[in-house]
């Protein structure tokens, strides 16, 4: 079942993708009544939302509003924090991935993640990409693996820049290249969902623009959830936007609607820069 989904995703052509903005496809992830606690402190209050497939969903909100915490629920990265407890249901492909029976390690190969600061492994560019396929046994032969590395780098728009120096260390790249390397690394394990936690906050405007182009390209194949502090970025790259404030979901809707005609007063205040 899973393989067929992946296969169809691999073969999907851009024509089959959704049209921009409205009329989004079926929800990829359905979250119901999510509460997150750090010890005694509750960080997220009863959030329910659905995330569409083959589209970019932006999570915006002031610092400490819980958007990163929510993002990390989606691939159970919160499990690595001992005091953190997540309740509620996160339905993905008909399964509740918040169920303790679900293996978070397997889940994370289906839900890739890109972090705020580029964090390539201190290994060669090639090994950075090949690591995921290797541990998951995705490649049967060396040629297979080479092809996978190339494909991932091409999709991340990095291939032309690094094809002659695949053996040089990943840290030798520039910041923007490193972040695209991390995206390529996430793609290499053939995820269905890619989570991005402020992927451009450490990059200059030129590198940011490249990443944004890349995200726009990637949404044809993947379900992307991005946390961002930049309103412009959310407006540019996302189709859906969710505004978080103090651990609550204030408003969620199509990006155009959120930025032009917000329903909630708080959303408007935040977007227009009156607080945050």
């Amino acid at each position: 079942m899973e393989t067929t989904v992946t296969e169809s995703r691999e073969n999907a052509s851009s024509e089959l993708s959704v049209d921009q903005g409205e009329g989004l496809t079926f929800p990829r992830i359905e979250c119901r009544n999510i509460n997150v606690f750090y010890g005694d402190k509750q960080a997220i209050f009863d959030i329910s939302l659905s995330i569409p497939d083959r589209a970019v969903t932006a999570l915006i909100g002031p610092s400490g509003c819980g958007k990163s915490t929510f993002l990390r629920c989606l691939n159970r990265m919160n499990d690595t924090i001992e005091s953190c407890k997540v309740t509620g249901e996160i339905i993905m492909d008909g399964e509740n991935i918040n169920n303790p029976d679900i293996d978070p390690v397997l889940l994370r190969s289906r839900v890739g993640m890109v972090f705020q600061k580029p964090n390539p492994f201190p290994k060669s560019i090639y090994d950075n990409i090949a690591y995921g396929p290797r541990i998951h046994g995705l490649a049967d032969s060396r040629e297979d693996l080479d092809a996978m590395v190339e494909k991932s780098l091409r999709r991340a728009g990095l291939w032309e820049e690094v094809k002659d120096r695949l053996t040089s260390p990943g840290n030798s790249l520039s910041g923007g290249q490193q972040q695209r390397l991390c995206i390529a690394r996430a793609i290499a394990v053939r995820p269905e969902v890619i989570l991005m936690d402020e992927p451009c906050s450490a990059l200059d405007p030129v590198a940011t623009a490249r990443i944004e182009e890349l995200i726009d390209e990637l949404r044809k194949r993947y379900c992307i959830v991005i946390v961002t502090h930049s309103m412009q970025q959310a407006a540019r790259v996302s189709q859906r936007t969710a505004f978080f404030h103090l651990g609550e979901l204030v408003e969620m809707g199509d990006t155009d609607q959120i930025f032009t005609n917000p329903r909630e007063r708080r959303t408007e205040d935040y977007i227009t820069g009156r607080f945050g």
């Binding site: 691939n75 990265m77 690595t80 001992e82 390690v105 397997l106 889940l107 994370r108 190969s109 289906r110 890739g112 993640m113 890109v114 972090f115 600061k117 964090n119 390539p120 492994f121 201190p122 690591y131 995921g132 541990i135 998951h136 840290n171 991390c182 690394r185 996430a186 290499a188 394990v189």
Partner: protein, 526 residues
């Protein structure tokens, strides 16, 4: 200051503050530099003082004997198996003694002289020769050149380490007249002026103590002791050789710094040694036996081999236990263990354990390993176990620090692509923490290598004459050898001890060198 320069940062007060700040900066740098200079000075003083002492043990004097291996002496009937020969120390020693008696026939007259002459070499020094001959029985009956170390006190005398001679060349001896047996009167008009001048200089420095000192006159291989000195003439008791050697010669006078009663070597022995040296039979050679011999009660034939091997075996046991256990314990504690009261208690106790005096570990080893488990005493196995216990907390603390220093983003990255916790630790965290962990491990081992106290308590201070071949054999270790040699009375042990310290330091420097190399080789940046 004029009115022109006014402004918040240009007024007098601000300038004063700035000056003060700069002065503080300079002061701090000066403190830092002087601290480093002090450390360097202390280090170089230490190395220089040990090195200076050890240098004299780097070479030693050996005596050459050309003897015929008389089968009657070394392999008498009924005792001629190789095993007998290799144990026949007395036989070989008597060969050397009779050779010495042949060289110095005057000594044959009384028993004391014979004994003193025999003391020029140590009886046990012929043991390796006996073993060689036992292995090659065809040599029996033929002549053989045997080289044995000179008695340690004479060796020190020749090196000038015990009593520095005042030496002066004296003028030509015009006439020699024998008064009685062995007593001669030497005369020459201006022969003894230099010697008299030297004596009066010494008298000015040291007072009448000079009178008790021996004055030896040497010409060629003949030596005599001056009994009475007057202007232009000296009465001399011959110690070796003949008085004729002085006729027309310009002998060397030695004023020996210590009176004979305060020395371990007699004038007579010095005379014999000088004669042997004159004959070219004493030579100064590199002291390799320090590395190839085992411990002995005689410094000239003692060596550190057994201790070196013992130390290596001990370190092997320590490394095999402390490094894996320490690394895995730290990985578990740092990466996997839940943070709760129990792990907190464990952490505090590991830190406490690192501060426990090493002698306590020795007591523990004696009680548990020897008393309870009944392991053999003085064995590197037990020493290694005790040192492993002692090193463990050091390694755990260093490894945890190394693991902590790996940025969490690397762990997140690995988990993000779907690696399990263990994969993220073993594929990514451990390689990055590796150099730090190895540094901690090797520094812990280096500390264990220099540890004496716990080994004393488990009996590794025993006198070990054989090189241990397994971790359960009796053995000693380098620091313990240093300890026991330094408590020996004879002067010759002093440079020997320094030499072993140098060996130990070389081990430590090598280990630290490995640390530096590993760091250079494997250090990665992120």
């Amino acid at each position: 200051m004029t009115d022109v320069v006014q402004g918040p940062f240009r007024n007098e007060k601000a300038l004063r503050r700035l000056k003060k700040r700069r002065a503080a900066d300079v002061r701090f740098r000066t403190y830092g530099l002087s601290a480093i200079a002090f450390a360097l000075l202390a280090l170089s003083l230490l190395v220089a003082s040990i090195g200076f002492q050890a240098v004299s043990a780097a070479t030693y004097h050996v005596v050459r004997f050309d003897v015929v291996l008389d089968p009657q002496v070394i392999a008498p009937d009924g005792e001629d198996t190789p095993a007998d020969i290799s144990r026949n120390v007395d036989g070989f020693y008597s060969l050397l003694r009779s050779d010495l008696l042949e060289t110095f026939p005057q000594a044959a007259d009384d028993r004391l002289s014979r004994l003193r002459l025999g003391d020029l070499v140590t009886r046990l020094a012929v043991l390796p020769v006996a073993r060689t001959v036992a292995e090659n029985p065809t040599r029996i009956g033929r002549s053989m050149t045997i080289t044995v170390p000179l008695n340690d006190d004479l060796d020190l005398y020749l090196k000038g380490a015990v009593s520095k001679d005042a030496r002066v060349h004296i003028g030509e001896i015009a006439s020699v007249s024998e008064t009685t047996q062995n007593e001669v009167s030497l005369s020459g008009p201006s022969a003894f002026r230099g010697l008299e001048a030297m004596i009066s200089t010494l008298r000015a420095e040291d007072g009448d103590a000079v009178d008790a000192r021996s004055v030896l006159l040497t010409s060629g291989s003949s030596t005599g002791r001056v009994t009475h000195l007057e202007t232009g003439a000296a009465h001399v008791t011959m110690l070796t050789g003949s008085a004729d050697a002085f006729r027309g010669a310009r002998p060397v006078a030695r004023i020996i710094a210590l009176p004979e009663t305060e020395r371990n070597v007699s004038d007579q022995q010095i005379a014999w040694t000088l004669a042997l040296k004159e004959m070219g039979r004493i030579s100064r050679v590199p002291h390799f036996s320090l590395l190839t011999n085992t411990d002995s009660t005689y410094p000239e034939i003692a060596g550190a081999l057994a201790a070196i091997v013992g130390s290596l075996l001990t370190m092997l046991v320590t490394a095999f236990i402390a490094i894996p256990v320490g690394i895995f314990a730290s990985i578990y504690l740092e990466e996997f263990a839940p943070r709760n009261r129990l792990t907190e208690i464990i952490e505090v106790n590991i830190n406490n354990l690192a501060a426990v005096p090493s002698i306590v570990f020795g007591l523990l080893g004696a009680a548990v390993f020897l008393g309870f488990f009944g392991l053999p005493r003085s064995a590197p196995l037990v020493g290694g176990l005790v040192l492993a216990l002692m090193t463990l907390p050091t390694i755990i603390i260093a490894s945890r620090a190394a693991l902590k220093s790996v940025p969490p983003s690397i762990r997140a990255a690995a988990l993000g692509v779907g690696a399990s916790k263990m994969q993220s630790v073993f594929h990514h965290v451990l390689p990055l923490a590796g150099p730090g962990i190895l540094t901690g491990a090797i520094l812990g081992m280096a500390r264990a290598l220099g540890e004496t106290a716990p080994l004393l308590l488990i009996g590794m201070v025993a006198f070990v004459a054989d090189v241990p071949s397994s971790p359960t054999d009796e053995a000693t270790a380098l620091p313990v050898l240093i300890f026991s040699w330094s408590t020996n009375a004879e002067r010759a042990w002093e440079p020997m001890t320094a030499a072993v310290i140098v060996i130990l330091l070389m081990f430590l420097v090598t280990m630290n060198g490995i640390v530096v190399l590993l760091r250079r080789r494997f250090e990665r940046r992120w």
